[in-house]
Amino acid sequence: MTLQGWVPEIGEFLTLAEVIDLAFDYRGNTTVVRVDGTEIEGYVFNRNRDAPEPFIQIFDVAGNGPIRIPCSEIRNIRFTGRDMAAGNSWQAWLERREREKAEKAGPA
């Protein structure tokens, strides 16, 4: 299960705070849409709800940062980048290794 490609619809059933939490947990770039309509693409590495003015922090796609964005300035976050935690399971590696071994051994 990955959120890659997801465009959240914030409303009655999904709050911005929940989307921020999901973006913080997401191991890929996202696009943060500000209230004024401007966008910034990057990796959300921090969020602080307990601060007097709650905020998120990101490194943008060029690696600049940390950039702090107050939560009050965020309208939405789209999950636009590749999910780096998806796939690559151990099982997949074992299967690939078995396949490679069989190929090396040649036809029986």
Partner: protein
């Protein structure tokens, strides 16, 4: 146990000083992650899954040393990523030695031989090369998802020992590990001449791709009891014997997440090396503003229930050694007799 006396003494003096000054929470080992980049992609690792711009970045030497000074812990562990890919690794280690910090450089050893030949690192009683070894050849190569890594690491260990380095191994155990094979692995590592071995059960990183093989508490007790009961005389462990007894189910401890604070590109990680629940900008902020009561087994936090990792519990074991005569006596007895 194999921790050198000078190191034991430094840690003991530090802990006693903290206790005498009435400091309730103190760091023991700084986990300094200068970068997340690695030349392996182990399935059990939750440290490397980042977008390219993050993997390309690394801390500056100044940021690393500022963190070391802010934290003040007597021991600095440098995991990663792969620290030998950090361009200033030699300067960083030298600067830590100058500060008389005991350094564990945690490496998968793929680049070690080359770096030793280039003279990037210098042997010192303060520096231990801590080689990631998850078991015998087949088990290790399986854990790191690449064939041939074990042999390269063994070659590098021999070269490091030949050059007079302190060498230890660090091993993460996952579900399905065979106690018998692990015992054979301990024999093999001691046969190579390493100073000691470090063990920890697999971390339940929520972001690690391989979730099925993490150890739950009952299985951890079972595995470590079978592995470490009747420990052979020549096995040396470079960690607290009380922590190993905890893994065997002989002791019950609560986590000390502030014992091994973690600093990386994102700042000071809350609350521990394992969980990433946010970052503080300074060590003081980390210590003062983290809601510590939300973590550890007693807190009821679901993420902490099966966790028995060294970065949460070894500091508890060390604290126990210096908190009571019983803890001190038990540590001494286990250290002298080698019985766990």
């Amino acid at each position: 146990m194999s921790v050198p006396l000078s190191q034991m003494w430094t840690v003991a003096a530090y802990v006693l000083k903290q206790k005498l000054s009435g400091r309730k929470r103190y760091p023991l080992v700084l986990m300094l992650e200068p970068l997340f980049r690695c030349n392996l992609t182990c399935a059990g690792c939750g440290k490397i899954q980042y977008p390219a711009q993050i993997l390309k970045k690394h801390l500056t030497l100044e940021q690393c040393l500022k963190a070391v000074d802010e934290c003040g812990a007597p021991v600095v562990s440098i995991p990663g990523g792969e620290p030998l890919m950090y361009p200033q690794i030699g300067e960083l280690v030298d600067a830590l030695v100058k500060r008389r910090k005991y350094v564990y450089l945690c490496t998968n050893a793929l680049l070690l031989k080359e770096k030793l030949e280039q003279g990037v690192l210098r042997p010192s009683r303060y520096v231990s090369l801590s080689i990631h070894m998850d078991g015998l050849r087949e088990d290790h190569d399986e854990a790191v998802c690449r064939d041939g890594v074990y042999d390269r690491a063994v070659e590098a260990i021999k070269e490091a020992l030949r050059r007079g380095f302190r060498v230890t191994t660090n091993t993460t155990l996952f579900d399905g590990a065979s106690p018998l094979r692990m015992r054979a692995f301990f024999d093999e590592m001691m046969g190579l001449g390493v100073e000691g071995m470090m063990l920890s059960p697999g971390y339940s990183y929520s972001k690690a791709p391989d979730q099925e093989h993490f150890l739950r508490r009952g299985r951890t007790h079972d595995l470590f009891s079978k592995m470490l009961s009747n420990a052979r005389k020549h096995w040396k462990f470079n960690q607290s014997p009380l922590f190993l007894q905890f893994l065997m189910g002989k002791r019950d401890y609560e986590c000390t997440p502030w014992g091994n604070p973690t600093f990386n590109l994102f700042g000071w990680q809350r609350p521990c090396y394992l969980l990433q629940e946010g970052f503080a900008e300074s060590f003081q902020e980390l210590m003062e503003s983290t809601r510590w009561e939300r973590y550890g087994r007693k807190s009821g936090n679901e993420k902490c229930q099966d966790c028995m990792v060294h970065c949460g519990y070894e500091a508890t074991a060390v604290d126990d050694t210096f908190s009571s005569w019983k803890g001190f006596r038990d540590t001494l007895v286990a250290s002298i007799t080698g019985r766990l």
